[in-house]
Amino acid sequence: MEALEKIDLQNVIEFLEENRNRTSEVSLNDVMRLAEVMADSLSEVVMETKPDITEEMMAIAFEIARMKQEIKKLRVSDMKHSRIPEAGQELDAIVNATEEATNTIMEAAESIMAADPSDIEAYQQTVNAQVMEIFEACAFQDITGQRISRVISTLNFIDDRVSEFIEQVRLRPEEEVDEGPEETAEEKRARELILHGPQLDGQGVSQDDIDKLFG
């Protein structure tokens, strides 16, 4: 009882009172903050009774502080509110630009196909004008290349920070392996209907291999 009296419960009570009327969900930060308040409150009594436990408590407090720093370094807010939406916008712009360029090129090609070759001069003018349209439309490649570089940079940013976080919080491989999230309806459809999408070079079967199968 004497030891319990030495516990400074005031900080814990204040912390709980401050958060009593909160309606939002408890975050990892809240848990860490509570752990810090508890550790501070217990420190005096623990130091007097068991020095070994004191060291252990200090190590835990240090780990909590370190983990908080690592979470800050993740810059989650920056990722969620800025980098990921921007990457999405870049990808949308790429889709639109490629579609627009493809349409322009196809229209030019169709105009050439439909042109009357009997009037050589007029035909030549049509071909020249449409070829210029094709050249101009091909400029999309430069801009989309730059947009893709920015998306890659965002992915690298996320990869670096998540990898560093995993390393710093010392996640063990056995902790990383779990049963995995439940299969979504989209994943189920892809599995059942064998939807893999385009493969990278060298990963899919070639047309020659397919032809042998049908030969």
């Binding site: 493809t102 209907l193 064998i194 939807l195 385009p198 493969q199 079967v205 199968l213």
Partner: protein, 127 residues
């Protein structure tokens, strides 16, 4: 090309650009009666209305894929003999084998050229 150039062809793809490309390639090869559909469901409805000489279909479409369309067509006694070519970016072995097992007549991996398309159409009608 020992193929009937007057036969109606149904091109099934959810990308209008790809339909336009295939349509232009077919025109270059001499075909003129070309119809299109945006997915397997629309294609099946069109196939019930009109007898097509050839179906050229993509695999990955929503809500009904080309693979589902192929299986549906092969199970339908009125349509089961319709020549069917899959033109798709799905190039995993399991896709090719599944399509062959389901009764596809030929399989083209995107991107492809006019020569490949011509060769496969000829091969289907040579069988």
């Amino acid at each position: 090309m020992a193929v009937d150039l007057q036969m109606p062809i149904l091109v099934v793809d959810d990308y209008k650009t790809m339909i336009r490309i295939i349509r232009n390639l077919l025109k270059q090869l001499g075909f003129n009666d070309i119809d299109d559909a945006a997915d397997g469901q629309e294609a099946y409805e069109k196939m019930k209305q009109r007898r097509y000489g050839l179906v050229i279909s993509d695999w990955n479409m929503e809500p009904v894929t080309g693979y589902e369309l192929l299986k549906q067509v092969r199970q339908d006694p009125a349509l089961c003999k319709t020549p069917f070519i899959m033109v798709t970016a799905e190039s995993k072995t399991e896709n090719v084998i599944a399509a062959k097992k389901a009764g596809v007549n030929n399989y083209i991996v995107k991107p492809f050229n006019a020569q490949t398309l011509k060769g496969k159409i000829e091969a289907v009608f040579a069988d």
